[in-house]
């Protein structure tokens, strides 16, 4: 089951040496183990969306998706896999 978090939950992120997220705090807290990454850049002609997504395992137990809103330099958790 996957749960879309609306609105996405704001978090703070600590990055590892390679630039990938290592741990998060805020609405969700704990260590982060990234397993996939992708980028979305769309709607530049209207309201630009520029995000880097990570699929990651939180605290070794929960799979979630977080993204970095590059324009605003803010991080959010968007989806949790229950």
């Amino acid at each position: 089951m996957t749960r879309l978090i609306t609105p996405p939950a704001a978090i703070d992120v600590t990055l590892g040496p390679g630039g990938a997220p290592e741990s998060i705090s805020g609405a969700f807290t704990g260590s982060i183990d990234p397993i996939a990454r992708w980028k979305v850049e769309t709607s530049w002609w209207d309201r630009p969306v520029v995000r880097e997504y990570w699929k990651a395992v939180l605290n070794n137990t929960v799979l979630c998706e977080l993204y970095h809103d590059i324009a605003r330099n803010e991080w959010f958790v968007e989806r949790v896999y229950d």
Binding site: E41, W44, W45
Partner: protein, 1031 residues
């Protein structure tokens, strides 16, 4: 050390509407990334291959040639290993286009297998059976599984799946980035192009757009982290690239072979033909003639070009035998061989023309022989070439249509979701001549208040970027390729829109760079005019003039030219020419050659026109920037006017060898990018410095030479054109009616609208007679009156009549005599190819006036009579039909109405000029008649008015506009500076009759008005827009 990463899958903008960068931009980016090789793999073709090859070579990047092709519904990348692989690719691409809608290419694996050999294949399929199928058909060692990682959500597991599949199949893997633009910022333009391709807005095109900007050209540093754990996939592209070597040198296979009589070789046959020809052309044959001929034949023998001349001789022979008017132009006129073979009509000895501009021993490309044929007959010539050399070895050269400002505005704007109404306003308001700055040319266009500034900014930036981008393929006007080997081994061939035509995927520059033979056969309507006028002169005088025997010395002809009385005269009728002729006052044929050559962007930009004129008039001393220039520029008073002079400057001032000097000259005539131009400049300047030419002189010289970048004329070309200019001027002077008929019957052509040509004829005292049902012919013809010859307007100037309709009227008249009444006409032509609108137009233009009935009465109830309703009621003769009630009394048509009708239906006036009917109002407003202007002093304030007949915005004139107004007495030239134009732009651009206030400017017998205020004359019904607007 790790193998370098090279990109094997990249689309330039020659993947029409699917590539966001020019080939040279991709090559430059590859060089910046220190990528040792780069492939070009455009969709369905190799359109950009030659540019890619040249750009890569200049930058030290190894060029790889390939293509992306749809095979059984999936994309396959094909990379050529060598020339044989390239030929296989060309054949395959030709097949793939053959039965598809225009611009599309698709094929089957079977066909790909038929043309396998020396090709590598990259497939991004995820279907194992397909990969195995490719391997079976094409060879396991040649097929690679293509891996991508574009940071899409699914990319990671797709990649792993593909790796596993490849391992099971024993296929090697190769990483590519499926590149569609050179840098991430270009992604926006790519999105817009996709939207345009799908005829959608960006919002609507959503699913077809890439989700991010990862399809840019990436170097190893970016690719390695993406393919972590797949080092082999990153190294394989370089292994493949190292095995590829395609140089596209077709010099050895270029000639189709010309069949010569038994016992002759091509050269011996050429020799024989030349000495036969020399006896025709020269009487007596002097030593300089034989000496020159001998020299040229030696060079031709050494360069192996005998067959090339025979092919062209044969073409002209065919043309002459079939009555097709034609003549060679361009640098071929430098050659006495071309002259005695009848290919050209200019004597190179008499006109001191440089053979080496046309051909020299070091020449590595084929010389150009361009031939103009009468437009009406050109098709015959093209068919002859196809039949003589075979369809396999012949094709038309392509022309790539590129985005120009108005198209860019409409299509980019539509993609951004702008309203049709806004785009219409923007597109119509733009000065189409200024491609350098689209924003500037839309200055008066303000974005709607509710539009976000960001959207407007996107729009302007994208329009700027897309200008000159390839849009689609079309056929070059007259370029035909004729090859020794089958054409499909040299370049892919596609069906053209015109039936029976095939078009090659290379344009004229590509063809020249590849060393192939291109025959340029252009349709020149002037030749049709000349041919027709000569026949008409024969009809009116009994003798057909032999233009080849014209002495080129008629003082009256030169005086007419010096007075700028040149409307209708080939090459010297433009506004710019007419403003220069009274100042240069040509008195000899050579003066005319200069005149044809100088009114070009080249000399004007190189600051050559004004110094030449000043020197010709003796107002300025003839000086040379350096003594080395004197022998080169003596004939043109120290000013560079000819391409030949550029060659000589490159040789004698910059120290280049003849072959390099000609290459330098050729490079300067192309559209070069910044990098290429800068490299040429360095070469030129350092050569000058080595010759002890001071730096500032060398810089000055290069700038002058640079001005010839696109349109500079070669002297021989100018001479060939000057010959036709002289001949048309001669005909205009001595046979104005016949010449005028020729002009009117071969429109559209030339500089002026037909109505202007008729006004000019009238101003010279000749009469133009209106359309008459019994006196007009299918076309305009001379008619003898007591007072002399007049021009009878033909049925070709009745709107909606059509060719069949015109013929029907005349044929029936020839068969059964003149039409006695309107009803007689209706009954004889009912059921024929003339529709009701055409009938109405004939009546309203006055074709039946001579038969005595008012026009409006004729039309009362005519449709019933036309459709023969009377006959259905059993009435035999139409004239017995009686209508219910009598026709009412209808208002008669007055002179103004008749004038308006004639303009509307024939687009001209045989009676008064339109302005005649406004004269009272204009006089009341203080506007001067055009014939009063010559008496006005310099700097006097004047008001002028007239119909706008030309609007010009030359790119070399710093955004100054030039308009020409016409009234019943003549023409007025108006100069409009940018600030004035900006203030009155809408009125100036759109209104047909203008009233202009300004200041008189006189110089050397030429006058114009410098505008300060522009308004329209209101209340006059608009004639159809007939102004000639151009750059």
């Amino acid at each position: 050390m790790a193998a370098p990463y090279v990109e094997l899958h990249s689309h330039s903008n020659f993947s029409f509407l699917d590539g966001g960068s020019h080939p040279y931009e991709l090559a430059m980016r590859a060089a910046e990334l220190e990528m040792p090789a780069l492939a070009i793999t455009d969709r369905g073709g190799v359109y950009g291959a030659v540019r890619h090859l040249q750009a890569c070579r200049k930058l030290g990047v190894k060029p790889i040639i390939g293509s992306a092709l749809e095979v059984d519904g999936e994309e396959l990348i094909l990379i050529a290993r060598n020339l044989r692989g390239y030929s296989n690719l060309c054949r395959l691409l030709s097949h793939a286009h053959a039965d598809q809608p225009k611009g599309e290419a698709r094929t089957t694996l079977g066909k790909v297998a038929e043309h396998r050999g020396d090709l590598f294949y990259l497939s991004a399929t995820d279907i194992e059976s397909r990969l195995r199928g490719l391997q079976d058909a094409l060879g396991k060692e040649n097929v690679f599984s293509e891996l991508h990682q574009h940071l899409r959500p699914e990319d990671e597991w797709v990649l792993e799946g593909r790796v596993a599949m490849a391992e099971r199949c024993g296929a090697r893997v190769v990483a590519t980035n499926e590149v569609h633009y050179h840098v991430p910022a270009r992604r926006r333009l790519h999105d817009v192009l996709i939207a345009i391709r799908h005829r959608a807005t960006l919002d609507e095109a959503g699913p077809n757009l890439f989700p991010n900007s990862e399809h840019h050209l990436k170097g190893g540093a970016e690719m390695h982290p993406l393919f972590h754990g797949h080092a082999e996939a990153l190294a394989t592209p370089w292994e493949i690239a190292q095995e590829c070597d395609v140089d596209l040198d077709f010099r050895k296979v270029r000639f189709p072979g010309y069949p010569v009589p038994d016992g002759e070789t091509p050269f011996s046959y050429l020799y024989k033909l030349c000495f036969e020809g020399v006896r025709e052309r020269y009487r007596p044959i002097t030593f300089s003639v034989t000496h020159r001929l001998q020299h040229e034949l030696e060079v031709i023998e050494k360069t192996g070009l005998a067959e090339f001349f025979l092919i062209n001789w044969d073409l002209m022979r065919f043309a002459r035998e079939h009555g097709v008017p034609g003549q060679g132009r361009g640098s071929a006129a430098d050659s006495i061989v071309a002259y005695v073979l009848g290919i050209t009509r200019v004597d190179p000895i008499e006109h001191n023309l440089l053979f080496e501009r046309f051909l020299h021993e070091e020449m590595t490309s084929t010389p150009d022989i361009d031939v103009d044929f009468s437009t009406a007959h050109r098709e015959q010539v093209i068919q002859y070439i196809y039949e003589k050399y075979g369809w396999e070895r012949t094709g038309m050269v392509c022309n790539v249509v590129t985005f120009q400002p108005r198209m860019a505005i409409r299509q980019v704007g539509k993609a951004l979701g702008f309203s049709a109404e806004l785009l219409d306003r923007l597109a119509k308001g733009v000065d189409r001549w200024f491609t350098e700055d689209v924003e500037d040319s839309m200055l008066s266009s303000v974005p709607p208040p509710d539009m976000r500034p960001q959207s407007w900014q996107h729009f302007l930036e994208l329009c700027r970027e897309v200008i000159e981008f390839p849009r689609h393929l079309s056929i070059h006007n007259g370029g035909m390729l004729v090859t020794g080997e089958p054409l499909v081994d040299i370049a892919p061939v596609e069906p053209a829109a015109m039936e029976g035509r095939r078009v090659v995927q290379f344009n004229k520059d590509d063809v020249e760079d590849l060393g192939l033979i291109k025959m340029d056969m252009l349709g020149l309507r002037t030749l049709s005019v000349v041919a027709e006028a000569l026949e008409l002169i024969k009809d009116t005088t009994g003798t057909r003039p032999d233009l080849d025997q014209l002495a080129l010395k008629d003082a009256a002809v030169f005086e007419m030219c010096s007075q700028a009385d040149t409307i209708g005269v080939f090459q010297i009728e433009s506004r710019a020419q007419m403003q220069t002729l009274p100042r240069t006052r040509p008195r000899t044929f050579n003066d005319l050659v200069v005149e044809v050559a100088i009114i070009r962007p080249g000399p004007i930009q190189g600051n050559a026109v004004h110094p030449y004129i000043r020197r010709k008039q003796g107002r300025e001393p003839v000086t040379y920037a350096h003594p080395l220039l004197e022998p080169i520029l003596k004939d043109t008073l120290g000013v560079i006017l000819y391409q030949e002079q550029i060659i000589e400057i490159a040789m004698y001032v910059a120290g280049m060898r003849p072959g390099r000097a000609d290459g330098f000259r050729r490079a300067m005539t192309r559209h070069l990018n910044r990098v290429e131009m800068s490299s040429l400049e360095d070469e030129f300047i350092s050569g000058c410095l080595a010759n002890e030419v001071p730096r500032e002189v060398a810089d000055q010289l290069f700038a002058a030479v640079q001005g010839f970048a696109v349109y500079g004329f070669c002297r021989s070309h100018a001479a060939a054109f000057a010959r036709t200019a002289y001949e048309t001027a001669w005909m205009k002077l001595h046979h104005p009616v016949e010449f005028g008929c020729g002009l009117l019957n071969n429109q559209p052509m030339g500089f002026y609208h037909p109505s202007v040509l008729v006004e000019d004829l009238k101003r010279h005292g000749m009469r133009a007679l209106p359309v008459d049902i019994n006196l007009s012919d299918v076309r305009c013809l001379p008619e003898r009156l007591e007072s002399g010859l007049a021009m009878r307007i033909g049925f070709n100037y009745v709107r909606d009549l059509g060719e069949e309709g015109r013929k029907a009227i005349v044929d029936e008249r020839d068969r059964s005599g003149p039409y006695m009444s309107f009803d007689d006409y209706l009954s004889r032509l009912r059921g024929g190819p003339i529709g009701p609108r055409a009938v109405r137009n004939l009546v309203m233009v006055g074709a039946f006036d001579a038969l005595g009935h008012p026009r409006r009465e004729l039309l009362w109830g005519w449709q019933e009579r036309w459709h023969g309703k009377g006959l259905r009621r059993g009435i035999d003769r139409q004239s017995e039909l009686s209508l219910n009630g009598t026709s009412p009394t209808l208002p008669t048509i007055d002179a103004f109405d008749a004038n308006q009708l004639e303009y509307r239906i024939s687009d001209l006036s045989t009676g008064h000029h339109l302005i005649h009917f406004c004269r009272d109002r204009l006089r009341a407003l203080g506007a001067l008649e055009s014939n009063k202007l010559p008496a006005m002093a310099n700097n006097k304030h004047v008001r002028v008015a007239g119909l706008v007949i030309t609007r010009q915005a030359p790119s070399t004139a710093k955004k100054i506009r030039f308009f020409t107004l016409e009234d019943e007495f003549g023409q007025v030239n108006v100069t409009i500076k940018p600030d004035v134009y900006d203030r009155y732009r809408q009125v100036a651009n759109r209104q047909p009759i203008l009233i202009i206030d300004g200041v008189m400017q006189r110089q050397d017998g030429v006058h114009s008005v410098l505008a300060s205020h522009i308004e329209a004359l209101d209340g006059v019904p608009r004639p159809a827009q007939r102004s000639h607007d151009y750059r």
